[in-house]
């Protein structure tokens, strides 16, 4: 069971130990994607002997997992990543973990200044991607439980202490709308070469912290690690913000500078992903802004784009 728990100073989504308090007061530093798409995952094994090698069967792992007390912006992220891992061919490694995971989301009662779910089609009480929804009620003394899928139904059947009754739902977080994602997507369609990208990206250090924390960023690398007799092939998180991501062996790099990389990040989330999969690749969780060492926020870029798109002429 994975839940938001305090680890040192931070609240993180981590394996829950019986008795540990579940922290709903702040948004966890990490996103839940690492439990479906681990930062590093074994996708192949082999034995080596000089120039000879034998590939070993590598079975995808799908440990039975409950994500408890994750926010709607987190649950929505899983629904978004599902699309890319299941269009065309299916990703067995992703799907094995995903199929074994039940998402018990909690309606969001406390947002912060970096949150913008309501600007990207979400809401503090949204149920997208959740199997079960919990809503605090009666001043935090009870939960209202709602099952949203067969998996959620199954979980609730085995739960104790769930009764029929009346309860008054507590108020949800107030997340103001910061920009119109329709106007952002509209502007992006024609502004690949806009001079404004230079300004939007100026502070970016290319550290990729935003991508690693993002619930929808899913780009990966494949790397081998081996001794003389055996080895492992890993799938590791990667990010379009890193300079080597697209660099060819020849030295040619299609995205040669940080401007091109930041543009790719914004374009992918608000233009390319909607075009390819019919949905934004952003849930407004705000982690990228909260943790950016340079103080950047994708919502600031989106607000600037919205202002530009809305301004006459």
């Amino acid at each position: 069971m994975i839940a938001p728990v305090r680890v040192g100073q931070a609240v993180r989504l981590a394996e829950w130990a019986p008795g540990a308090p579940i922290e709903l007061s702040e948004i966890p530093a990490n996103s839940a994607k690492e439990f479906i798409l681990p930062a590093s995952e074994t996708i192949g094994r082999y034995d080596r002997d000089g120039a000879r090698f034998t590939m070993r069967e590598t079975t995808p792992e799908g440990p039975r997992t409950v994500l408890l007390g994750v926010r709607p912006c987190e649950a929505a992220g899983l629904a978004i990543v599902d699309a890319v891992f299941n269009w065309d061919s299916r990703d067995e490694f992703y799907d094995a973990r995903r199929a074994a995971t039940t998402v018990v989301a909690t309606a969001c009662a406390q947002a912060d200044a970096d949150c913008f779910c309501t600007s990207v089609g979400g809401a503090p009480g949204a149920t997208r991607g959740a199997d079960v929804m919990l809503r605090l009620a009666d001043g935090g003394r009870q939960f209202i439980v709602e099952s949203l899928s067969a998996r959620g139904e199954e979980l609730l059947r085995s739960a104790h202490g769930v009764t029929e009754g009346e309860a008054a739902a507590d108020p949800l977080a107030d997340v103001p709308v910061r920009f119109s994602h329709e106007r952002v997507t509209g502007w992006l369609a024609g502004q690949f070469d806009s001079p404004r990208w230079q300004e939007f990206s100026l502070a970016c250090l290319g550290c990729a912290a935003c991508a690693y924390l993002c619930p929808t960023c899913h780009c990966f690398d494949i790397q081998d690690e081996s001794t003389r007799t055996a080895g492992v092939r890993y799938r590791n998180w990667d990010a379009c913000g890193l300079g080597l991501f697209t660099q060819h062996t020849s030295g040619h790099n299609p995205r040669a500078d940080q401007m091109a990389r930041w543009r790719q990040r914004v374009m992918h989330k608000f233009s390319y992903y909607p075009e390819k999969f019919g949905m934004l690749a952003c849930t407004g969780c705000g982690r990228c802004a909260r943790m950016c060492p340079a103080g950047m926020a994708i919502s600031d870029t989106c607000r600037a784009i919205d202002a530009e798109e809305s301004s006459p002429g």
């Binding site: 590939m55 379009c240 790719q264 992918h268 390319y272 075009e275």
Partner: protein, 271 residues
Amino acid sequence: MSIAEARDEAPGVRTFRLTFTDEPARARFFGQYRVGMFGLYGLPGEGESTFCVASPPTRTEYIECTFRRAGRVTTALQDRGVGESITFRGPYGNSFPVDAWRGRNVLFVAGGIALPPVRSVIWNILDRRPEFGDVTIVYGARAVADLVYKHELADWQQRGDVRLVTTVDPGGETADWKGQVGFVPAVLEQAAPSAGNCVAVVCGPPVMIKFTLPVLSKLGFAAGDIYTTLENRMKCGLGKCGRCNVGSAYVCKDGPVFTLEQLHRLPSGDM
């Protein structure tokens, strides 16, 4: 896959002829393979590299790949010899719509190490020669030594049913060089193949492509009749890892073959 033959083509450039480890693998591959598709060639412990399949689906006992020794994986691969094995995943990606070109003339324009992806189409069309009209090949490299498939160039030169124009960049010629001297776009313009009922397949370094496309337009080729294949860096080849994205396209799934008309809709600054 087992290395059945290894041939040096040019400094640092080698071709492997690879045979399948078993008949089901061979049959499965050729059940799917269409010309233009690519694969990921690798070695456990080193990694994988993406190259086109440089031989056509009309030759079904083996596949060939031609690649330059450039980084860790390509160096390790070239260090493997005949009789040794490498890994292969594929075929992946889309293909050149060769069947739709039946009855049409075909022009190939290639530069340097970019002949291999075009060579599979050339072979395929020559193996089915009566189905197509005129075949013109314009191929150039920096220097004579850098031309790949030298024996095949000689064969194509001798055929009565292929027009081959070879060129090297100024200064790259040798005393006995009988081809042209000049950059591919200029030599193409001079050769002036007719655009009438013709499709063009273009592959080369970005700078060659940049200056060749305007020449093709000038010769009268429509953007929908100009084909190329993008060689983006890839990892998965399956439309997941995000590395080859250009705009909303996954080069590994929606490509690698694109018409110029399709490329016009993608952000050129990301290629």
